[in-house]
Every structure is written in structure tokens, then in C-alpha cells.
Assembly symmetry: T
Homo-oligomer: 69 residues x 12
């Protein structure tokens, strides 16, 4: 592991259901173009309100993936 180099990207995913689901949605969409994702860190948790209800969650995450040697 000592010779790994990671690049970090920042994503915001959304979900009408939960914080966990918003994270997974961001990862699924990003996986079309980003390979070798290894870890994430949640950096912001927000949401939109409609009629006094949580309409959807918006979760921002930093994602690390390995750069090929």
C-alpha cells in the first residue's frame, strides 16, 4: 500500500430516501467514468423542503481512487 497514489474528487448525490442512498447514487453515477474508487468522506449533508417535508437529500462526498502506476 505504501506506493499508492490517490486522486480525490468531490461529488454531490441526491436521494428522496436517505443519506446512505444519496452517497450510493453519487458513486453509481460516477462509476461510469471513474475507476478504482476506494474510499469516501461525507463533507456536507443538505436537503430540499417541499410542503414542510424533506423532498430529497443532497450529500457531498470526497472520493479517493488509485492512480495507475
Amino acid at each position: 500500500m505504501s506506493d499508492h497514489v490517490y486522486k480525490h474528487i468531490t461529488l454531490t448525490g441526491s436521494s428522496t430516501r436517505s443519506i446512505e442512498d444519496a452517497v450510493q447514487n453519487a458513486l453509481s453515477r460516477a462509476s461510469a467514468t471513474v475507476k478504482n474508487m476506494r474510499w469516501f468522506q461525507v463533507t456536507d449533508t443538505r436537503g430540499h423542503i417541499e410542503n414542510n417535508q424533506i423532498a430529497h437529500w443532497q450529500v457531498t462526498l470526497e472520493v479517493g481512487f488509485t492512480l495507475e502506476p
Copy 2:
């Protein structure tokens, strides 16, 4: 949207079930006196412990609502 003015308030809601539920409880209670709530941001996630179990979650959120022109 460019002529909106928002006011922010800060609330702490609680729930025995989940982080998401504590946010919804805060919004539901505040809706009695606050109209036009549009978005929220979670700023603190805490909880109380009884007998080594999570007794309830306490989630603090900043809420934005539009000021009537």
C-alpha cells in the same frame, strides 16, 4: 430566483429512530410558525446514550425560508 431573500434559522430535532427522522421532526414542529421553508443543512449530529444503547438522536440543522417581498 435572482430576487429571492432568504432568512436562516437553526433548529435541533430529535428521534429515537434515525438521523433522517430527527430532521423531519424539527421541520414538522417548526412549520407551525415558519412558512416557505426551502432547504436545510445538517450542522451537528449528536445523541444520548442509555444502557450502552443510542437512546435518541439529536440533529441540528440550519433552515432557509424565503422572505415575502
Copy 3:
């Protein structure tokens, strides 16, 4: 309550299911050696990714417990 003294410790728990479950797992493991835990605050929410899926959540929390007089 005014004569309580609390000591804080920091833990990281993990779970394949949810943020809430990772917190409970940390508390359950710590309860073997720490008594009188009263509250916690989530300070970091991370996770590991395998095959573009959340493999498990890692949640860091500060926990306060009362020191016996």
C-alpha cells in the same frame, strides 16, 4: 447535574448497513471497558468502496461519560 465531570473518548465504529448502525457498534464494543456513557457527537463519516458499492461505513464519534466522584 452541576457537579458532573465528564471525560471524552473518541471511537470509530463500522457497519455494512448504515451510519446509525456504525455508531451503535462502536458503543457496544466500548461498553466492555467504559461505564456511564451519556452522550456522543459524530465528528467524521467515511466509508470504503468495493466494486462501486459502499462496502462499509466508518463513523467517528466523541463519547462523554461521567467520572465517579
Copy 4:
């Protein structure tokens, strides 16, 4: 001045023209219901983009006003 008590509120104003104008727009709208505003501090500067141009600025500010004795 030593016996003043201030209450703080947080506002977000917007403008298609400048940061300064967004702050003034927030103050003008709030003045309908808030009296004795004395100072502000800018805490966030954001904006929306349309066709690669800044469509409008959104500036968040904390405002202090004196509470009547």
C-alpha cells in the same frame, strides 16, 4: 455602548450585479420587519451560472441589531 445587547440574524441576498448589491438587497428586504440593524459580516459568497456566465450572486450575511432595553 457597554450596555447594548445585540441579536444576530442570518440572511441570504441576491443580485445580478455584484456582491455589494446582494448585501444591500438583503438588508432592504429585512428592514420591513427588523429595526435597529447595526452591522453585518459576510459568511458565504456563492452564485448561479447560466451559459457559462454568472447569472446572479448569492451572499449570506450575519446581521446584528440592538434589542430595546
Copy 5:
């Protein structure tokens, strides 16, 4: 306690005598219009200087009060 919802407000109080006194002055003035105040957190400690002496302290605090169900 698990069904409490708190609203937070921010105040700045002042005193020529001490930090503690500036906090109490803010609470006393706010109590004319805010009921059910439960806790506070000091977020800024400042002061004015005249003739190289502390002329008065200015202490900013966030205050939580319960919203009636």
C-alpha cells in the same frame, strides 16, 4: 427529552465587569421576549479598550430554547 425540538438564537451581551456577567446580561435582556431558554454556548469573546484598559467585554452566545409542541 427525546421529543424536544430546540430553536437556536445568537446574542451578544456586554459588561464592564466579566465574561460571565456579559452572558447573564444577554440572557436577562432576551428573556423579555424569549421563553424556555435551556442552554447556551459561548462562540466569541471580544472587548473594547479605552486608555489601555478593558472598557467592556462583548460576549456572543448561541442560546437554545424549546419550541412548544
Copy 6:
């Protein structure tokens, strides 16, 4: 809006005229390769000094753009 996924990038633009102009310069240059930019947040405001005058402003901004489904 609930199924949007955003990617964030960070840019620094410069201008001899104003903060607002430095932001627009960054967006204009980035638009050659980045599509669907939606919002920005200013995270740093700096500048260079020559002969005691502001020679140019350097403004750092985080930009969000939608990832195509």
C-alpha cells in the same frame, strides 16, 4: 432535481478590476472543457501588490456541474 449528481472542481481566476471579474474569467476559461456548470462558491480571495497598489485579484472558487445520466 432529486436525481442530479454534481461533480465539483476548484478554479482560481484573476482580474485587474474586481472580485466579480476574476470569477467570470475563471468560468469563461473553464467553459472550453467543462459543460453544464450550475453554481459556484468563493473559497479564497487574494491578490498581488505592486507599488502599494492592487495589481490583480486572485479568486478561488468551487464550481458544481451536472454529470450526464
Copy 7:
């Protein structure tokens, strides 16, 4: 001093009288089990309110003590 190793712990002490007294109460209680305490840093200053009065102060401090060689 150059070969000292310190361990840090975090405590919250309380007092009905003052911030200073809350710090001393935390140190006195901790001294039953922690030896060689050298310095502290105040990291949070809170309190509880009853009948619009400060009921007690709660002060959180990080404490450093030397590890025996």
C-alpha cells in the same frame, strides 16, 4: 524538555460560579486517576439556563500530562 512525550485527554467540568472554577473542578476530579498534568486548553464554554439565569457553567478542556519514560 526535548524528550517529553505528552498524552492528551479531554474533560468537561462544571461550576455554578465561573469559567475558572469549572476548569479547576475538572482538574481536581481527574487528579484521582491522572498524574503529571502539565497544561490545559479550553475548547468549549457552555452552560445551562434555569429561570433566565445561568444555572451552571460547563467548560471543556484538553489536558496534557507527561508519559513516564
Copy 8:
């Protein structure tokens, strides 16, 4: 450039017109006693309000200048 040593100072300038002008006013006044100023970073943006209008801006900046070898 690799053998430069910079000293930093912090200034607050004001202006009735704009953020940019408040920065330039601080630099102009400081230039009477500080030589070789090279860069600045804005660290706080505040203002005073009179009759619901921005009366003047107060902008705090950190300034770096080279120490003569």
C-alpha cells in the same frame, strides 16, 4: 524566489464604496511605514449599517512583505 522570507501583517481598511476600495485604502495607509508589500489575502468582510443602508465596508486582510536579506 526560493530564498525569500516574508513577514505577514493584518490590516482592516474601510470604504463607503466597495470591498475592493476598502482593501486599497488599507494598503495605501500602511505603505507609509511598510515597504515591499507583495500579496494579500482577505480574511473577513464586514460593514456598518445606518438607516438600513450599508454605511461603509470593513475588510480585513493579511499582507505579506519581503524581509530584506
Copy 9:
């Protein structure tokens, strides 16, 4: 007040008695060389411990003074 320029300096004062006294001690010592001090902000509150007692407080403050036109 709109044409004032302030310079900020940072000081650490100490006292065996209280936080307030440590601030005053820093201002008194600095007044030998710094004129026109107007305000301060406490940025750090620490102390040394001897025999489980607070031996002295060390308080760091940022001080603003007006630059002569």
C-alpha cells in the same frame, strides 16, 4: 469611522487569577509601545497546572489599533 485603518497584533498575557486579568496584563505591557488600541478578540485560552491546581492562565488575544492618517 469610515476612514479608519486598523492594524492587528497578537499577544499572549498571563495571570494567576483569571482570564480577564490575563487580558488586562497583556494590554498593560503592550501599551508601552502600542498606541491607540481600540478592541481585542480572545482567540485561545490555556493554562499551566502544578500539583493539580491551575498555576496560571495564558490568554491569547488579537488587538486592533488605529493607524494614524
Copy 10:
């Protein structure tokens, strides 16, 4: 320099030897795909431990490179 636009990326490099070496390793790997790197800022310094020894350093850095006009 006043018409430069920079893009920032975030990398984590590792090394068994030193913090400086971990930074250089990240730059060397990234240089395969990123041109015109101009500056970096260290934002996190971590490491892994094996048998009570530092096994390798992991250093996170933000890197700025110029966007071609």
C-alpha cells in the same frame, strides 16, 4: 500573471521515508497526465503504523496547474 487561470486537484502520495518524499511521489505519478503544475499546499499528514513503527507516510496535497488559454 494577471490573466492566469488555475485548476486545482487533490492528491495523496505515500513514502516510507519522509513527508517531503511522499509529496514528490504524488507529483511524479500525477505528471503522467497533468501538465503545467505550479504549486502545492499540504492539507493532511497521516501515516500507517506496523509494530509500533511508522510504516509509511500518507500526505494529501492540493496542486494548482495553469489552464491553457
Copy 11:
């Protein structure tokens, strides 16, 4: 790895030679009483000065170790 629970402790180590050496010194001393240390994060880098020379480095680190199941 998904069922690990980590406890964090905070240490300050010192060295007359380098930042890296101060970290290793902290780990070596702590290893007498702490088992299963896995990672560290540097959170503060300070030092003492004598005769205008760095006399020794003082580096603070958070260390994570696994709690036995």
C-alpha cells in the same frame, strides 16, 4: 475490516532532529501501554527556539488502535 472498532488517543512527541522523528518518538513511548496501533494523523506542528535556532520539534498526533472484540 468492516467489524473493526478503533479508539483514538492524542499524543505529543518531541525531537531535536525532525518532524518525522518526533512522531516516531511519540509512538515508541506510547507502545509500552498501547497495543495494536494502526494509523496516525498529525494535527499540530510546533517547536521551541533557543538562540534563534530550532531547539526541538513538538508534534501532536492522533493515533488509532483496534479494540479487541
Copy 12:
């Protein structure tokens, strides 16, 4: 030590070799005009890149020195 008053200054030193060397270079240059320097804290670690190599390190430090009584 309880009657010491410290003044803090901020410096940025550089070196082609290491972080430690950049700190020492800042202290050596400052010692021409600043006496009684006692401690420092590293607050920023940056560097310039040429041809994908670290060209030099730039380290910012806060330095405390005693004010003569």
C-alpha cells in the same frame, strides 16, 4: 513564567531542501530584528513546482517572543 507577555508574529520561510530547513531560514532572517523568540507553530506548508519536481518549500509559522517588562 506567569508574568510573561508574548507577542506573536507570522513569517514564511523557504528552502529547496526540507520543511525543517524552511522554518530555520525564517527564524535566522527574522533574528536580525526580533529578539527573545521562544516558540513557533507551523500554520501552512506549501511549495513551488518546476518540471514536476518540488522546486522549493514555503512554510508559514507563527512565532512567539517575550516582551521586555
